[in-house]
Symmetry: C2
Subunit: 203 residues, 2 copies
């Protein structure tokens, strides 16, 4: 029983450290944030941080390991929606919700940069983004079946592109301004612009 209690306590401490690390990484960047700084924010010594995490890179990954359950819940919540297109817009809106938070943009940028040379990190965020991508693809297929989405679109490729658009909202984030209208209009226009509508045939 003591064993179990210890495990939980360790998990809590890891969570606490990861939270502070995430905050500081987002605000200052990975390299510009020292382990000593994170330790101070938590109220422990640098050495203690290394007791809970093997190295600094593991600390960064921990921040994103927390996202997977949230992504799974989000997709599950909309999987059985009656209106696929509407569900897609809702999912995108949820994903972009954090974009309003200043610092979320910084964290995305930091993630993209580090993902290029940390295979373990790629694995962590890859799982999360696959869950979202596949969930969106399923909705796209249903939207096509319903005749609401252009059947010429490839579901997986389109889902990937929609995720990229969400990333764009993060990059475009500014305080006191919500990118949701642009996002919805963009996705809507992309999904439902049938070739016959998009091209001008006047003569």
């Amino acid at each position: 029983m003591a064993r179990r209690a210890d495990q939980e306590r360790i998990a809590q401490k890891r969570e606490q450290i990861a939270a502070q690390a995430g905050r500081l990484f987002a605000a200052q960047g990975y390299e510009r944030t020292s382990v000593a700084e994170i330790a101070t924010a938590v109220g422990i010594s640098p050495a203690s941080v290394f007791y809970y995490f093997n190295d600094k890179a593991a600390l960064f990954r921990a921040v994103f390991e927390r996202d997977l359950p949230a992504a799974e819940a989000l997709i599950a919540r909309h999987a059985d929606a009656k209106e696929p297109v509407s569900a897609i817009l809702d999912v995108l809106g949820e994903l972009a919700k954090d974009a309003i938070d200043p610092g979320a943009s910084g964290m995305l940028v930091e993630l993209l940069r580090r993902a290029e040379h940390d295979p373990d990190l790629i694995a962590v965020v890859g799982r999360t983004s696959e869950v979202v991508r596949d969930g969106l693809a399923v909705l796209i297929v249903r939207g096509i079946d319903d005749g609401d989405i252009d059947p010429a679109l490839d579901p997986i490729q389109t889902a990937t592109w929609l995720q990229a658009i969400v990333d764009a909202t993060y990059l475009n984030a500014r305080p006191g301004y919500s990118p949701l209208p642009e996002l919805r209009r963009t996705a809507m226009g992309y999904l439902t612009t049938f070739p016959s509508q998009g091209v001008d045939h006047r003569d």
Copy 2:
């Protein structure tokens, strides 16, 4: 005359150093690229690099100072186009062209990171992106006047959003795959989706 020759020689050397720096920053990131490494790539000593640039941050900015003339030329080239919408798509295509180059994505990410705490860098890239944004806005206004673009759209805000979409193509870049079709379809859908078309009024 000797004075002029020297100036040109210095400019050439600066250009040479900036080119190597850009390549390495894109591939490895700013902090992970040492000045010594850049110096080696050019074939000079680290001290010589500091003869041409005050510090490492100035070296990074130099990479982007070269973009302004190109942006001005791009906008000027399309300013008098007969078909505004078509011109906008062409401009976006040109902007996204570099996205195919592996490493361009890395450089964008690096830029976004560093821009947050280097005011001088913000000034440098700000000028370039303003030129593009204003150029696009002018085309959008003309597209609205022609009745090809939804008049409900705010030109400046829309131009800014289109730039964000271009950034998204960089993030979505993968080798052997061009994001141009997605980009064109997205912009087209966004600009020309009139509210009366976008909403389904079946009953």
